[in-house]
Symmetry: C2
Subunit: 585 residues, 2 copies
């Protein structure tokens, strides 16, 4: 037996296996996931595992390594979040999200930090040795809402799209603020004196860290799109580039102390539309599937490790500090949401209702990021107290808030997500309204979101697409793509139901009499049809074919405000088809 | 800048990126891959990279770590090979393959070892300090044909299926022999005296290592199949199990000093048919795609690393030893193939031609396995000579043999692989003949391959399928599955060409007059058709529908020799359909 040799990959594989089997286990018993969020169950499994390890070895089980978390477990989840981010609601609410993420997080950090410092001044609690700076440092790590925890809970309760994107967007973008504040306070803790210059430099860093992350992400995203232009002959490694470039963007950003989360999200959002157009359909299925799979496993592992790491002797218990931490986290978040929403609602027609505000405040779950940050703290005599407080806050938010949020959403009758996807008709109308509003904004001289969106779209079709897309001569509108997707789905359903009319291996009588739209049989078919249908029906049919079907497949460019609808292309093509068809007859 | 923090994942990602970009680069210039095999080009890139690293640092570039090779790079390639192994030619030729792999490898090991020892006795070459045991140890690592190198070359030259499986199967299965002989001689080298018991124990180990690998692999494979029975509600992690279980089988086998390669191949071949039936279509696409992608990247990395590791000061040059190694490798392999094939041909009707024999002997490429094994040797004073000789043999086989094998195949007019896949009709006939031969063998009392195949199939349908498949009530014959696959492909093609007849969003006139096989429109359609087609055509059509289409979809069980064809099911169902159809009209 040579266990040493295979230990590392063997144990990693076993942990992943445990996570996957736990996931299967929950879903076998159908009622469980609808009552308790999966994250709670996974932490519970982790607690049991930790208890077993503790019981067998009689020492604390290994805690989740912060490096493993930040380098290997977090990126897949954030990549998945960025790649599948619904871009429309995100950009529509970007202002509100940034306000929550930046101002809200700063508010929480200082609110929690200062009030905990206040608690520390009470002599009866015996906490006078915790300085203001340490309290602020603790505030900076406990204030950040965690995207992994938010995603795990909000994916299951199906609130309306706007509410979801507000909480989720905030949890993603506050990373830049958290990184800056955490590093700032940590370096302050180690400095003998703090100059006012350092504070100003800290404020400047917000922009560097956030915008730097966006820049790194976008440049890697566009490089990825450019690379997939050349993969036509070697389809099999296409999915790889999506993962490699986004991971590189994350690592590069981390290397330069920028926000890795912001970088990987920008990378994913930047590359998505170009990569999708360049790679094959199967590659795309693989990319989507693997992203989901990977993030799902990472997510599971994080919660199990959270549970395992909770067990042990790393904790210093102090009732007042821990209880007040939980209370302040709740109070400051609620206050922050109320105040910020008050301002947001004054400038928007589509206001955030008080129910929504409650869910935003209540949905501020903490998770593994806080946990990893608290373990990364430099050693000082109260570190174990901070670890205990962080663990309690995480468990409280995930268990209590996570489990009660679904009944609360039901009770308050919060607006839910619509069940069905919008139809093609609706999408066309939405796009039409966008163009109309862009035109109105242009005329009225107001540079609103529609104006910028339109400008961006123009820049995209004029320059970016030409560089990044393989087949620029055929840019497809997303509606045409949707139509194609629906038709493909429909065809597969037909084939699976055995109603396609004729199998490829059986060109029997059926095929010619029944379906007859396969191109190489068109001639034979048309002759048969001519026998059975009267000529004017045939004419009518051809006219409709030439007018409807072909056009729909070709109207892509007409949706763009910058190409005139009078372009001769579509009609010419329709004529060509008609001529071709006549020749065949 | 904090490079230390992200170094490990960053460098790994960069290496993979380099490998992928190199692959794209070769395929951009179309003529290159048709002249030079990709493996040669990749080694060349590696040589350049190694040269650059050597030039910049002025010391040997890092050599490929044997652990990294055996634990991370080799498993994906072997998994891919096992999963996509054409099982029919493999099992038809299993006897020949085993003969080549076991007897042939032993023949080569001892042949090369003893003749090199003879060379060492020549005083002029100054090699007298290399003992017989060391020569045999060297023979055991240099004799093994490498699956990675063979795959890289043979995938491009498209020889006929039998020839391909003979060389490739041998390269996979000789792993068990190589592992045993290599470890045996290595332990002999460290022992003071060798007892005859040890030699006999070594012979017994062949069976333990090989059959143990098969057992470990099959048990993990069946567990994987069993697990995928329960993933219906959580499709997204289905592909994971395929990878996890096969990797675990490899690691477990390695842990117990069994053959990991044999284990992972058995696992993949054992689980394939059950997993495919259990998981969703998209999961399966992902599994296939990711396996190909992963093995392709591993393969690329191995050849690049081979190139990089060649550069440096690890070599001790000795002309006679190195030249004679290359010559003996060629001669002993050629002799071995000739002798073994002579015996094989005496017992087979379908003989191996002398052209095929030449290609089998010439296609015995050495690769990264030898290279990793030679670095794993215990330190002794002539290790650098062995490293040099191994490197030369690998480069010689990959470059000289790899580049000339394609022209030779053309020159000798070796039978090529047929371009098109067999049609459904051919497959039905092949299966029919199988059953016929099984019957003949049964009657004549000869326990040949058809007899065993049939027994295995019976065991499978009687016990295994019931345990491992989710929906056992509907077992599908592989021909029905193929038919469904073809029909699905056809449907997608129709949809992409825009000839499905009607889009899901446009139930226009076209749909009812043209296609009309969608189930919810059957009624309306049939009425329309009745107007335009005369009644007897319609009757004829329905008859054909009831007779052909429905039957083909349901005849699955009838292919099994153990269910009587007189089972009432299919006809009853056809009647039901007919009645249903009449009611609709």
């Amino acid at each position: 037996l040579d266990y040493q040799h295979v230990q590392v990959p063997f144990e990693i594989t076993l942990w992943i296996m445990l996570a996957s089997l736990a996931k299967i286990g929950f879903h076998l018993y159908n009622k469980l996931p609808s009552v308790v969020p999966e994250s709670c169950l996974l932490i519970f499994v982790g607690l049991i595992m930790g208890g077993i390890i503790y019981g067998l070895n009689d020492r604390s089980p290994p805690v989740m390594d912060s490096d493993i978390f930040f380098l290997y477990l977090l990126p897949p989840i954030v990549l998945d979040a960025g790649y599948f981010m619904p871009s429309r609601p995100f950009f529509e609410n970007i202002g509100t999200i940034l306000l929550y993420a930046v101002v809200g997080t700063i508010w929480n950090v200082f609110g929690i930090g200062f009030s905990l410092y206040g608690i520390c001044q009470v002599k009866a609690f015996r906490l006078q040795d915790v300085s203001l700076l340490h309290n602020l440092l603790f505030g900076s790590l406990i204030a950040a809402v965690d995207p992994v925890a938010v995603l795990a809970v909000f994916e299951e309760i199906h609130v309306n799209e706007k509410l979801h994107i507000l909480v989720f967007g905030e949890s993603l973008l506050n990373d830049a603020v958290t990184v800056v504040l955490y590093k700032l306070f940590r370096s302050f803790c180690e400095m003998p004196t703090i100059k006012s210059m350092d504070v100003f430099a800290g404020v400047g860093k917000f922009f560097v860290v956030g915008l730097g992350g966006v820049l790194v992400g976008l440049s890697f995203g566009f490089t990825a799109a450019f690379t997939t232009r050349f993969t036509k002959d070697i389809r099999v490694i296409e999915p790889l580039f999506v993962f490699l470039y986004s991971y590189l963007s994350y690592l590069t950003a981390e290397m330069f102390h920028l926000s890795g989360i912001v970088a990987i999200i920008s990378c994913a959002m930047g590359m998505k539309r170009y990569v999708e157009a360049n790679i094959s359909l199967k590659s795309h299925t693989t990319v989507k599937y693997f992203m989901k799979m990977w993030s799902s496993v990472s997510d599971t592992l994080i919660f199990i490790f959270l549970g395992v790491s909770t067990i042990g002797e790393n904790h210093e218990w102090n009732w007042p500090y821990i209880c007040f931490t939980v209370i302040f986290c709740l109070i400051w978040r609620a206050l922050g949401v109320l105040v910020l929403t008050f301002f947001v609602n004054r400038f928007h027609v589509n206001t955030i209702t008080s129910k929504d505000q409650f869910i935003i405040a209540y949905g501020g779950l903490r998770g593994a990021i806080c946990f990893s940050l608290v373990f990364l703290l430099p050693d000082f005599h109260r570190k174990k107290l901070f670890i205990a407080a962080t663990t309690v806050v995480i468990l409280f938010t995930v268990f209590v808030q996570g489990m009660t949020i679904r009944p609360l959403v039901d009770l308050l009758a919060v607006k839910r997500k619509r069940e069905s996807a919008p139809t093609v008709g609706e999408q066309i109308h939405i796009r039409f309204l966008d163009h109309l509003l862009a035109g109105i904004e242009d005329i009225s001289g107001h540079w609103g979101q529609y104006y910028w969106k339109d400008k961006l779209e123009y820049f995209n079709s004029k320059y970016l697409q030409k560089i990044l897309l393989r087949e620029y001569d055929q840019p497809k509108s997303s509606i045409v793509l949707l139509y194609e997707k629906l038709e493909r789905k429909h065809a597969i359903e037909l084939a699976q139901a055995g109603q396609l009319g004729h199998g490829p291996a059986h060109p029997s009588f059926l095929c010619s009499a029944f379906l007859c739209s396969n191109s190489d049989r068109t001639v034979r078919t048309d002759q048969k049809l001519e026998d059975t249908l009267n000529p004017d029906v045939l004419d009518n049919m051809q006219e409709i074919l030439a007018r409807n079907l072909y056009r729909i497949r070709r109207t892509g460019p007409a949706y763009n405000r910058h190409t005139l609808p009078g372009d001769s292309e579509p009609t010419e093509q329709a004529k060509e088809i008609l001529i071709l068809r006549h020749k065949n007859l």
